[in-house]
């Protein structure tokens, strides 16, 4: 069993060079996705099925009325309780020993349940064409370079980050680093915080943010949707149980009718009629 690892992102050290985006595209062999001008330095509106890593550029007016230019490397959070894994009807999404959350492309049927349930909106469907020209869809997102981890290497984005805004390592070590960094920047950024949301059991990509999560377009209190929990933990098993129960009941009814009611249906005497749902 491999150790649980965390990717720690210190946004205050990021200089917005976007080398992580390039490294990600390069290692994962993802096609370029030209997009319209976003109105800022930011290249893409958000991560997509073919762009697993986007550097966000946020122009923020801080409490002193000064302009703060905030950068954030955005990709999959690799939740400990991943909503995508929970709702996947094909068991195509799973946790690795490293703590990353990965998609099995052979099992994925492209239903998009994960897309609708991800609290961070980082998973989406890519459309491909098979050799007959027929289109099919597969869910895609950042894998935390699990294929590299398996070979003892670090994620491509981390390795390429020249200001050292990203580090990858043992869970405990990374959490300690984050705490230390937070205390260092608290004076300059009073709103600074560690983003490792408890609503999804903590994540395997954690951030030290300079401002509140909402400033970065992140949910303040993300969690596995309540509907998803009721759906998968209660409604689905109970539904299967009910179908089993009524099936058993009609089978028992069929057998007992064979035993007790040999005369068939002709037993409506006077006012008594056998009765039922038709």
């Amino acid at each position: 069993m491999a150790k649980e690892y965390i990717k720690y992102v210190d946004v205050t050290k990021c200089d917005g060079c976007r080398a992580c985006m390039v490294a990600c595209k390069n290692w994962n062999d993802l096609p370029a996705e030209p997009e319209e001008f976003q109105g800022s330095l930011q290249s893409h509106a958000k991560v997509t099925a073919n762009t697993w890593n986007v550097l966000n550029f946020i122009e923020h007016e801080n409490s002193k009325g000064d302009l703060e230019y905030l950068f954030r490397h955005s990709s999959c959070f690799h939740c400990t309780d991943a909503a995508c894994e929970k709702v996947c009807p094909e068991d195509a999404i799973s946790y690795t020993d490293f703590g990353s959350v990965v998609i099995n492309n052979d099992k994925c049927v492209g239903c998009g349940y994960c897309v609708q349930n991800c609290p961070f909106d980082v998973i989406s469907l890519a459309t491909y064409k098979d050799k007959n020209g027929k289109e099919y869809r597969k869910a895609q997102k950042c894998t935390m370079c699990t294929d590299r981890l398996e070979e003892g290497m670090q994620p491509a984005c981390v390795v390429t980050c020249h200001p050292g805004a990203m580090q990858f390592g043992n869970k405990e070590d990374m959490l300690t680093l984050a705490e230390k960094r937070l205390s260092e920047i608290k004076e300059k950024f009073p709103n600074a915080n560690i983003y490792n949301p408890a609503g999804v059991g903590g994540t395997h990509t954690i951030y030290v943010l300079a401002e509140k999560p909402s400033v970065y377009g992140l949910p303040e209190k993300p969690k596995v949707p309540t509907s998803a929990v009721i759906w998968k933990d209660y409604a689905q098993p109970i539904g299967k149980l009910m179908l089993g129960a009524t099936t058993m009941a009609v089978m028992a009814g069929f057998v007992s009718n064979k035993l007790f009611n040999k005369g068939g249906h002709d037993h409506g005497q006077d006012e008594e009629g056998g009765d039922s749902d038709e």
Partner: protein, 235 residues
């Protein structure tokens, strides 16, 4: 008072519109169930190739989703009186309907039961109608959010998945009983003819829906023995 030797007499029970609506509803329901079954249980993943892959299953599911909505419209447009009669019956609950459930288990397992006289729909059929209406509404509305997620907030789509699941889970469990009673249960199989040909054995109607039968006699549409007196016009 077995009438087996005599030729059977039939009383009209359902309109053509009802029969079509019922049949389209049933076929759509099962087509929908089967085209989504591999999504429900991985045990049925072998069905994907049958439907032309996941994309094919999704397309078929959407086609049958449309036909699933049609029966209500067919019933309303072609037999509005029957439709209203059905709704009226569904909200009419008397002592006979409550007492029905005391006797039903005995009847279900083939033992001697003293069924209270029932109206046009017996209490079990009323409950079945209520559950199917309720679940159909759940399934159809949540289905819209799943089909067109881009037009709904994420939360609505997320709850849609849950409601869709609850809807069909409840519906299929009830449908199993509904179908068993119509095609296998010795006490009620004669009712099946009602949803195929529109009429049922008069003797069966007398035994199962005595209040309705008596009403028909009182209206003069049939006589005590189930012979037709005039053109029948039941919903």
């Amino acid at each position: 008072m077995s009438k087996q030797q005599k030729p059977k007499k039939y009383v009209k029970r359902f309109s053509k519109a009802f029969i079509w609506a019922h049949a389209i509803n049933a076929l759509s329901f099962f087509a929908l169930y089967i085209t989504a079954l591999p999504m429900y249980t991985e045990f049925f993943d072998w069905l994907y190739p049958v439907f032309g892959g996941p994309a094919g299953a999704r397309l078929l599911h959407r086609i049958f989703a449309v036909t699933f909505v049609l029966p209500t419209l067919i019933y309303i447009i072609f037999d509005p009186k029957g439709f209203l009669f059905w709704l009226k019956e569904l909200v009419t609950w008397k002592k006979r309907d409550v007492d029905f459930f005391k006797e039903f288990p005995k009847e279900f397992f083939g033992m001697k039961a003293k069924m209270p006289k029932q109206g046009f729909f017996n209490a079990g059929e009323k409950i079945n109608s209520w559950i199917q209406i309720f679940t159909a509404v759940l399934i159809i509305f949540s289905g819209f959010t799943m089909w067109f997620p881009e037009y709904f907030p994420d939360t609505v789509v997320q709850w849609g998945y849950l409601l869709h699941n609850i809807g069909f889970g409840l519906a299929i469990a009830v449908v199993v009983g509904h179908i068993y009673l119509s095609v296998l249960h010795p006490g009620s199989t004669p009712a099946f003819r009602g949803v195929i040909k529109g009429d049922v054995d008069a003797e069966f109607a007398k035994g199962h829906y005595r209040d309705w039968y008596d009403e028909l006699v009182a209206k003069g549409e049939i006589d005590e023995d189930g012979d037709k007196k005039s053109a029948d016009k039941t919903a």
